[in-house]
Symmetry: C2
Subunit: 339 residues, 2 copies
């Protein structure tokens, strides 16, 4: 493997000069530079990033801590879109991405800061960890720049990007209210997700603003899982047949709800309106097509990477980015036919 030493030998200059020439410093004779560049090409030279990282104390890498890189979560390609967005931005930067593959077992072995320190990543992007994840504390305590996706924590090294979940949820519920629904339930995720908290807030706000009562027993947790949501919806709809609409905190859970409705022979949307959240790929392909709140997931990834690199390059403090949402009316919501 060619090193700058080899190039120095061949060109007859010192390693210092080679280093400077290759890194574009100005204080190198143009002729010398040309020669060095030519030789390094001939010798097929590539700099050793490890050596460089070691001395420069930065690695030009961004650590990625994402959930959803497991078999079970192939259905909601949320993670893929996040990755695509991140990748799109970093491809044009000179940062590379390292995927921290953290299974639950491994996670117990290595702390967050160990993960980062070992690889000396310059910054981190985190998505999909729960609010009760011990890593979260470390992120704040550590002084490694970090951008969180959908986790509202902000410090002088930590920023985040999210969508307006309160507003999104309100939009969804107002859509149902506008269709005449008054008995609206909510299929939430779980208590360890910030988005759940916010979407619940939006749900309640919308009801209150419409002078509609809040039935706590109509708010259930489907764990962001299609199967769990199906079971929970089955119970809910059996016990409270007067419910005419359900707002779901994720599309996957909305699919579960629709399955439950089918099992109970309830027609969607005529017997029950269902609205989801996320606008995952499947939303527009299932039958009937799912009405949902669309968020630009790709954009979140892109924005996270952009924000992080900006922080890294400019030393700017990371801040907060909130993206908008959009109501996509499809075929699972319709006018309330009961009173």
């Amino acid at each position: 493997m060619t090193t700058i030493k080899d190039i120095a030998r061949v060109t007859g200059v010192s390693v210092t000069t080679v280093s400077r020439a290759l890194n574009g410093y100005s204080d190198v004779n143009e002729k010398t530079r040309q020669k060095i560049i030519r030789v390094s090409k001939e010798m097929n030279y590539s700099p050793n990033t490890h050596a460089r990282s070691l001395v420069m104390n930065k690695s030009k890498t961004i650590g990625l801590l994402v959930s959803g890189l497991v078999k079970s979560s192939v259905k909601d390609n949320f993670t893929l879109q996040i990755l695509a967005g991140i990748n799109q931005f970093t491809a044009d930067s000179d940062y590379d991405l390292v995927l921290f593959s953290t299974t639950s077992t491994k996670q117990r072995e290595k702390t967050y800061s160990q993960l980062c320190k070992e690889r000396r990543v310059d910054g981190v992007i985190i998505q999909g960890i729960r609010t009760d994840d011990p890593y979260l504390l470390e992120v704040v305590e550590s002084n490694i720049p970090c951008v969180l996706i959908d986790i509202p924590i902000n410090s002088n090294t930590v920023g985040y990007i999210t969508t307006d979940n309160v507003e999104g949820a309100k939009k969804a519920v107002n859509h149902l209210i506008g269709l005449g629904h008054k008995k609206i339930a909510m299929m939430n995720g779980h208590e360890f997700a910030f988005v759940s908290k916010n979407r619940l807030e939006g749900f309640k706000e919308a009801l209150v603003e419409a002078d509609l009562p809040i039935h706590n027993e109509w708010i259930v947790n489907g764990e962001f899982s299609e199967e769990a949501a199906e079971e929970k919806a089955l119970e809910l709809l059996t016990e409270h047949p007067d419910i005419t609409a359900i707002f779901c905190a994720s599309d996957l859970m909305a699919l579960g709800v629709m399955k439950a409705a089918k099992r109970l022979a309830i027609d969607v949307p005529n017997g029950l309106s269902v609205i989801g959240y996320d606008d995952i790929l499947l939303a527009s392909y299932v039958t009937p097509a799912l009405t949902t709140i669309s968020q630009n997931i790709y954009e979140m990834g892109y924005g996270a990477a952009k924000q992080l690199v900006h922080t890294l390059e400019e030393g700017a403090e990371p801040n907060v980015i909130t993206l908008g949402t959009e109501l996509k009316v499809r075929d699972t919501t319709g006018p309330c036919l009961r009173r």
Copy 2:
């Protein structure tokens, strides 16, 4: 940032002993080791992988060169499943993954071996590059262990994992023939994909074995794109209305074909049988649900990682893995109602 030097100072031993103690060498006094371990924990020590890589000349990282980490390819989450499989395996190994984000622009700047050499990756997994990609040559010439996904190239450093595409295609076509179809067209991908080549081969073999003629004008390329396939199918079905079934080299293209059929008011499966390939997520969710050849994409990723790590650890020569396929009969294929 704590280094072994610091630990050596505090514990009163040499850096060598610290290094040996921490790396589990046997020739260290157990008491000394315990002390060193205790202190390194107290001081929150993490080894610097860059320093280690530099001296050991290996990095414990695997480079990932995948397509489909772009906005446009979110529909077929092939890449996500590959990544999930790879991740699943490497999570339990001590390898980390680095994502080479290679846009077309960047690709022209850096050669494959530059990419690998800079990061000193120990091995590479490649998916989704075309047969005319210049990187492919480099892969073979380079002496970095590599496992290719769906690209049949084999050398003493390069192995691959794939499914039996000839057999898979035959299975699909035989299914159609079994339903009485005799006028079967093929929507292929493009000439720069190995899978296309093989699936075409299987298609032809199946026809020949059934004593059916091969109409070359019934074989068209949809570029693995839903839109292109729709247009091509539109032409094909307009010009050759006697076609009763189409075998598509990917599910995405099958969706395009179904759209074309809809535009031409041809009922699927009664007026036209359509069979896809891949069994992507959407296949089972569209209406009518798509009959297709299922391949275990997750398993391919897992197998690729397993094979590569095995090569890396044991120094074994990479070899060839061929996975089976499975016919999933759904609702887009039915008996031939014409003659």
